[in-house]
């Protein structure tokens, strides 16, 4: 039996312990904000937080989240939207929007670890998150704005 917390709610799971967390949150919990993009940790669309760290849920087996606190895009803003989500909205970042939950989760981790990231910091932290529509320029601007506002 695997016990974990997702967005503050306790859950237990006794299915295939090799099942990636992605499919547990999407198919079992119905939290579909976390997206399937590649299944190989190559695109970042499935990014969630495990104990505060950004992880690729598409390759993270349930056996590895025993006792973990998981936060998905649905649980990000405690009271309304997180400042990073607000910055995304203000800069009209999304086009199709499919990758943006993953981008936002990755950006939140970056800003938690680095209050005022440089261009280089941003490129390093966001390197694993693909946006096929090509919104990178707005992602960079939104991260910087969120950093300024939180400062």
């Amino acid at each position: 039996m695997i016990r974990l917390k997702v967005n503050g709610v306790e859950h237990s799971f006794d299915g295939d312990s090799e099942m990636p967390l992605l499919w547990y949150v999407r198919d079992k919990l119905g939290l579909t904000g976390t997206k399937f993009g590649c299944g190989e940790a190559l695109c970042g669309a499935c990014t969630v937080h495990q104990n505060g760290k950004a992880v690729r849920s598409c390759v993270l087996p349930m056996s590895a989240v025993q006792g973990a606190e998981i936060v998905t895009i649905e649980g990000l803003g405690k009271n309304g939207l997180h400042p990073v989500q607000k910055a995304w909205i203000r800069f009209n970042v999304p086009q199709c929007g499919y990758c943006q939950a993953g981008q936002i989760m990755q950006a939140v981790e970056l800003l938690n670890s680095k209050a005022a990231p440089t261009d280089e910091d941003i490129e390093r932290a966001m390197a694993g998150n693909i946006c096929r529509c090509g919104t990178y320029q707005r992602i960079r601007a939104a991260i910087k704005a969120a950093a300024r506002e939180s400062a």
Binding site: D27, L31, C43
Partner: protein, 757 residues
């Protein structure tokens, strides 16, 4: 303007559930120009043309004042779901904060819903205004009747009718019931707002779904969930047209959560939008379906396309490009001009297949019940879903309902609904709602690929290095092969994409197209044949500028020649189905974007460091004029960075400026992927690539650091914006690489070239 006649359908049941009783609902009949009609019609069932004369676009006003606007085009990131309804809301004088959008299901009565070809605004702008204007006039008349005043004394302001003289006001909601009883005004009676009074058109606004997207709401096809739904993953034949010889699912069925397997029969040629065939694993969740699939043992009969090898195919294309082809434009006498001499320059260019790879892989949910199918799909073309599902199941199109979700990227892939047909076939077989999810590997290997292409160019340079003669020949497997396996030549719409419409002022000009047979599924990908055609024409132009020892911008303007209208009626040029009076090829507009882009980039003015360079390209596609300057830096190791892109766009009237800028920023990134790493190859008919490790697309550090997009202020009729950013970007980047390194890129992608000095 289209031939429109609006009718009051308040008491009809077409939009059952969308509007409550007492709502004022307007429909409109009109005849759209169906962009890809020639492609689609022969597929299944009745001729689409017969069906489009039915009511289609709708606005409704609820008694509580909520204005409901039906978005009938698909949202894949271009903002169309927001932009078109805002056009209607503007003419209706509606309060946007009280507008609710309703996504239209697939229905021929809407006219074409195929959201591709960058034509949504162009085709529906006037219709939307008429819809809004007619509804507004009916509300005004209803208020005037109630107040017993002349409608001329009334005006509207944000969902309210106002009688200024007496200070009386009535909200649209309060007037909806009375307005619904009135006859629809004739078009001649409508008075449209002058553009100076536009409240929404031309003003930036957030996309309707922005907050939902940023907070992870279930908006996409892949987020669909139904009670009793099971999950499917399908092992397709590795080679197009292959068949299952035999298979053993014993191990697959032992995977926990796997229910059963289903064999899907192979398609009957042409493949069109049919399911590819193969073996599906049905399970209780997506993961179990994937796991079960990996345990299948299948023996395949690969069929004739197993002969497809990209290396040999390329040789064939390039050899064909050296031989005379079908002439698709012939001005003057090219051979005579070549015979006169001058400096002869030749070049051959090659571009491989490219995959769409939208971030949301193909997926669909279908629920078959008693001869009827309800489907939920991220699709650009819900009516093609109806056709494909009906064809697959042998049921009537009317018995297929297609709900359109948001699309997690598409780029043309989701115009082709094979994956929805799969879900419907499986639902019928298992008697439950089925969700089909393609893995990324399926998406890359079984795409409808962008055509591989070879281009041969030849010019004779005379005085000042100006071409006295120009010959260009392209060879590529046509996307028409999707519908007719025997297709050998490019369709008019393909050779009409930046090829026979080359806007150059050259007296002797011949344009040709050579034959090629397709061995994989070919589809349209963001800007389609414009990509390889613009790449060849704009690269060759840059090469000639250097041979002539002239500045590439000045030389490009010389090639375009004086401001004029180019008339190509005699060659049957398709002009993206745009009226040539409204949308001529106007070289003054092309010249202007070139001049503006060069000036914005500081062309010839800004000092660039060692290893840096700028390249320019200009192209008209989807009736829009674009010029792009790309700046690159190549370091000692040959690593490439793109610090800046300057793009100037003349798309005529622009409805949503910020959304359009986002499209062109994104087109630069899409073009970066095509240019730097875009390559799909086949070995013995099997696609060699499978996921983002061997089919890389641009990541944040690969993409342009900053793309500045300038929109030319224009009163010209609106044109396309989703696609036209890609074609000039590709050659502009290659020309910049040449400026920085002296290496001429005659073959894509860049990853095949060593850029080290």
């Amino acid at each position: 303007m289209n031939t429109n006649s609006i009718e009051n359908v308040s008491r009809r049941r077409f939009l059952k559930g969308a509007f409550s009783a007492g709502a004022l609902v307007l429909g409109v009949r009109f005849l759209p120009q169906v962009l890809w009609a020639a492609v689609r019609e022969p597929l299944y069932g009745p001729d689409v043309k017969d069906a489009v004369f039915n009511p289609n676009l709708f606005v409704g006003i609820e008694p509580n004042g909520t204005v409901i606007i039906v978005a009938h085009r698909s949202e894949m990131g271009t903002g169309i779901r927001t932009s078109l309804p805002r056009v209607l809301a503007d003419e209706l004088d509606a309060d946007w904060t009280r507008v609710k959008l309703q996504q239209g299901i697939g229905d021929a009565r809407y006219g074409s819903q195929n959201t591709d070809g960058s034509h949504s605004i162009r085709e529906f702008f006037d219709v939307m205004r008429e819809m809004g204007g007619a509804a507004r006039l009916m509300l005004v008349r209803a208020a005037a009747q109630r107040w017993k005043v002349s409608p001329d004394e009334c005006e509207t302001r944000l969902s309210t009718v106002v009688h200024a003289a007496s200070g009386r006001k009535l909200g649209y909601g309060e007037l909806a019931r009375a307005a619904a009883k009135l006859p629809v005004p004739k078009k001649q009676e409508l008075q449209f707002k002058p553009s100076s009074k536009w409240r929404y058109i031309g003003k930036s606004a957030p996309m309707y779904d922005l907050a939902g997207i940023c907070s992870g709401k279930p908006l996409y096809g892949i987020d669909t969930s139904l009670d009793g739904m099971v999950y499917a993953s399908i092992e397709h034949p590795p080679v197009l047209g292959g068949k299952v010889k035999s298979y053993d699912d014993g191990e697959a069925r032992r995977v926990a959560g796997v229910r059963r397997t289903v064999q899907i029969p192979p398609f009957k040629p042409p493949y069109a939008f049919q399911a590819l065939g193969g073996v599906a694993v049905i399970a209780d969740n997506t993961w179990a379906a994937f796991q079960g699939r990996s345990k299948l043992k299948i023996e395949w009969d690969n069929g004739p396309n197993a002969s497809y090898n990209s290396t040999e195919y390329r040789k064939m294309l390039e050899e064909t490009a050296r031989k005379p082809g079908k002439v698709v434009r012939n001005d003057g006498d090219v051979e005579a001009a070549f015979a006169k001499g001058g400096k002869i320059v030749e070049a051959a260019y090659y571009t491989p297949h490219v995959a769409h790879a939208p971030m949301e892989p193909p997926n669909a949910v279908a629920d078959y019940r008693e001869g009827k199918v309800t489907a939920w799909a991220p699709t650009q073309n819900p009516q093609a879903v109806q056709d494909a599902v009906a064809g697959a199941l042998g049921i009537k199109k009317e018995n297929v309902i297609c709900h359109v979700t948001l699309l997690g990227g598409a780029f043309g892939r989701k115009s082709m609904p094979d994956y929805v047909a799969e879900a419907a076939l499986l639902s019928k077989e298992v008697g439950r709602p089925v969700k089909v999810t393609w893995r990324r590997e399926d998406d890359i290997k079984f795409d409808y690929f962008h055509s591989v292409a070879a281009m041969y160019m030849k010019a004779a340079l005379g005085e000042n290095g100006r071409p006295s003669a120009w010959l260009q020949r392209s060879v590529f497997p046509s996307l028409m092969s999707t519908f007719d396996a025997n297709t050998m030549y490019g369709a008019p719409l393909e050779v009409g994409m930046g090829w026979n419409d080359i806007p150059y002022d050259i007296p002797n000009l011949r344009v040709e197209n050579g034959p090629a047979k397709a061995h994989v599924r070919i589809g349209w990908l963001r800007s389609v044949a414009n990509i390889y055609h613009a790449y060849a024409v704009q690269s060759f132009s840059d090469e000639l500028a250097h041979v002539a020892q002239r500045d590439p911008v000045e030389y490009l303007l010389d090639l375009i020649g004086p401001p004029r209208i180019i008339d190509l009626k005699s060659i049957g040029y398709w002009n993206y189905n745009g009226n040539t009076e409204q949308y001529p090829i106007d070289t003054s507009r092309l010249r202007r974007v070139v001049e503006m882009a060069a000036s914005q980039a500081g062309w010839g003015k800004r000092k660039l460091g060692k290893g840096s360079g700028m390249g320019i390209a200009a192209h008209r596609s989807f009736l829009t004029y674009v010029a792009t300057v790309v700046e690159v830096e190549v370091n000692d190791k040959g690593e490439l960075k793109i610090p800046r892109v300057d793009t100037v766009v003349d798309a005529g009237l622009v409805v949503s400026p910020d959304v359009v800028r986002n499209q062109f920023e994104g087109a630069a990134v899409f073009g970066t992927s095509v240019t730097r790493t875009g390559e799909i190859t086949a070995t013995n008919g099997v696609i060699d690539q499978s996921n983002f490790h061997n089919y890389p697309v641009a990541r944040i550090a690969d993409a342009p650091y900053y793309t500045k997009v300038t929109l030319v202020e224009s009163n010209a009729p609106p044109a396309g914006v989703g696609e036209p950013g890609v074609p000039p970007f590709v050659p502009a980047l290659c020309n910049a690489v040449y400026a920085a390194t002296g290496k001429r890129i005659r073959e894509l992608p860049l990853s095949k070239h060593n850029l080290k000095a």
